[in-house]
Amino acid sequence: MSQDTLNFIFIGLSFVLYITIAIRSRAGSTKEYYTAGGGVSAFANGMATAADWMSAATFISMAGTVAISGYDGARFLMGWTGGFVLLTVLMVPYLRKFGKATVPDFIGDRYYSKWARGVAVICAIFICMTYIMGQMRGVGVVFSQLFGISIPAGVLIGAAIVFFYAGLGGMKGITYTQVAQYCVMAFSYTIPAIFIAMALTGNVIPQLGLIGNYTAGGEAVPLLEKLNQINTELGFSEFTSGKLSKINMFCITAALMCGTAGLPHVIVRFFTVKNVSAVRKSAAWTLAFIAVIYLTAPAIGAFSRINLTQTLHGTAYAEAPDWLKEFEATGQMAWVDKNGDGNIQYFGPDRSPVKTSSVFLGKAPEYPDYDTPERQRIGASGERLLANKADDSNPNELWFGNDIMVMANPHMAGLPMWVIALLMAGCIAAALSTAAGLLLVLSTSISHDLMKKIVKPDLTDKEEVGYARFTSFAALVVAAYFGINPPSAFIAKTVAFAFGLAASSFFPTLLIGIFSKRMNKEGAIAGMLCGITFTIGYIVYFQFLGGKKENYLFGITPEGIGFVGMLINFAVAFAVSKFTPAPPQEVQEMVATIHIPSGAGEASNH
């Protein structure tokens, strides 16, 4: 049986499972559509939230980031898990007690103003859209690999599937579907890692392999030392020492953490358990489930780095493994034979006099049209030729997208076909689950918070759900567009922008709203607006308008600027609230009551 057939069988089976669950628990009333009736157990909710978390960025991109950047990859590892701690101890129990289904709802009531609600809706739209863009890119990468098609076509297929079950099932469908998805993801992520750990280090547990010895090359050498040695030989910086400056590393990690705590689609998840105490338990479960994957990612990253250099560097293209050709065909790997020796050379910036390692000129590989003569499309060794000019300032000949690492990993290690098929099913689950969760939040923000609460209060339940579905569709179209033309070359970075936006807008506003009685609407609105405007401006300027690296504020990259945006938000909010009147008495009393865990209201009755 071929790999493709097996892939389709595994994915097909997993889909039958999800769809069966979704259809069996199809949403009824509006309330159920949003929060699944409020009666999901802490354990199940923990798993579902973990699946929501394990987005395409985590699943596909994170290990690749660790492989490429070594220690620096810890910004994502710590940022996303550490943010969960913030979320749990500072936000969720209080929001759950407050009992409103969406974040703009809380902000609208806490800051007693339609304007605050409106600004919150706009922030939610920006955050979710940026995040979905990253997910759609992930969906595209996976489907392109699966069908051997280009990424744009993969994005379109994925978008259609996401729309189908986010719109149909609502949250209830998604909660139980996501429990199933978590299981698929966890197995498909850890099983290949176990196989590879055994092959490279003789350890069954990947985490022990990472801190153990590399044994595949005869005598045992500490694995990380081996990696450092490989990296330095090829002209990269050491694996265990990062390239990012301390301040940048600090800011990016902080932005990811605070962003996590302000991400609306995760907060909304905790409205599905019955009371505040269950929220805390559910959060602990969630992080434990997340940790299974996050602790494996650094191991996968390290292993794939070793495998990649050992299978490809110095190998003749003609003898290179088949998967290289598959990735070339979908435009995710490229080899440019600069010195014409027919061998693949993979080198880092330190091997070049001008410290570059780009293989070709331009951002992404471009290919000649299909009707050009064959000698312009296929090179002397049989490789796929690029339309881009080769970059002759350095000897590096191998280009690959970071996002393919996880998918290429089992191929590189020569694992059995069923492991690869399982992994494909996991990748698709990861990409689809988060996109579906986000779409739901986005559509709720617009249909509920914008249409019902601000524009047209007499909206019926039915119309509201109608609006929600329409918005899902519109959002997907936009997300698909940006999935095809992404703001950043790789997924984790695009997603990091979404976290920066959340950190600079929702995090401070929610935090002050929960812990300060004095904060009023003027302060909150001004803070949110300044924070998110600054952050969007910085990202757009440096990412799209060609801002130069030398002009970075304190050397902070756009990924980490959300942290500065957050500080601005705090400062503006406090300054403005000092000169404007205190909030009304009932709001201050409300703030006092959300700190008492009991009587969390409505959603506690199943």
Binding site: V85, L86, V89, L224, T240, R280, A284, L287, Y294
Partner: protein, 92 residues
């Protein structure tokens, strides 16, 4: 609801939150980023991995999970002490 009781509970819960967050900061930003080089050089390695590197990529995540379990336990205990525990009360 007795307002004095509520006030005490509120303070106690903030104490829990602040102490956990202090540990959280020391683990992630402290061990993983700010003092990482010093830890790499002066602390015993974990297996074959330098201490700071290991904390950044593995250790911090373990600690986060433990922190959340402790949080759920401590807050659960506070709820019972101040009579806000909903699990044991009969449902109406």
């Amino acid at each position: 609801m007795d307002p004095k009781n509520a006030e005490h509970y509120h303070r106690a819960s903030l104490r829990v939150v602040f102490s956990l967050l202090t540990i959280w900061f020391m683990i992630s930003f402290g061990c993983g980023i700010l003092f990482r080089d010093w830890l790499d050089a002066n602390f015993p390695t974990i297996g074959t991995a330098p201490f700071g590197f290991w904390m950044a990529q593995q250790g911090s995540i373990f600690c986060f999970v433990v922190l959340l379990i402790v949080y759920a336990l401590l807050m659960g205990r506070l709820d019972s002490t101040y009579g806000y525990n909903e699990e044991k009360e009969p449902t109406q």
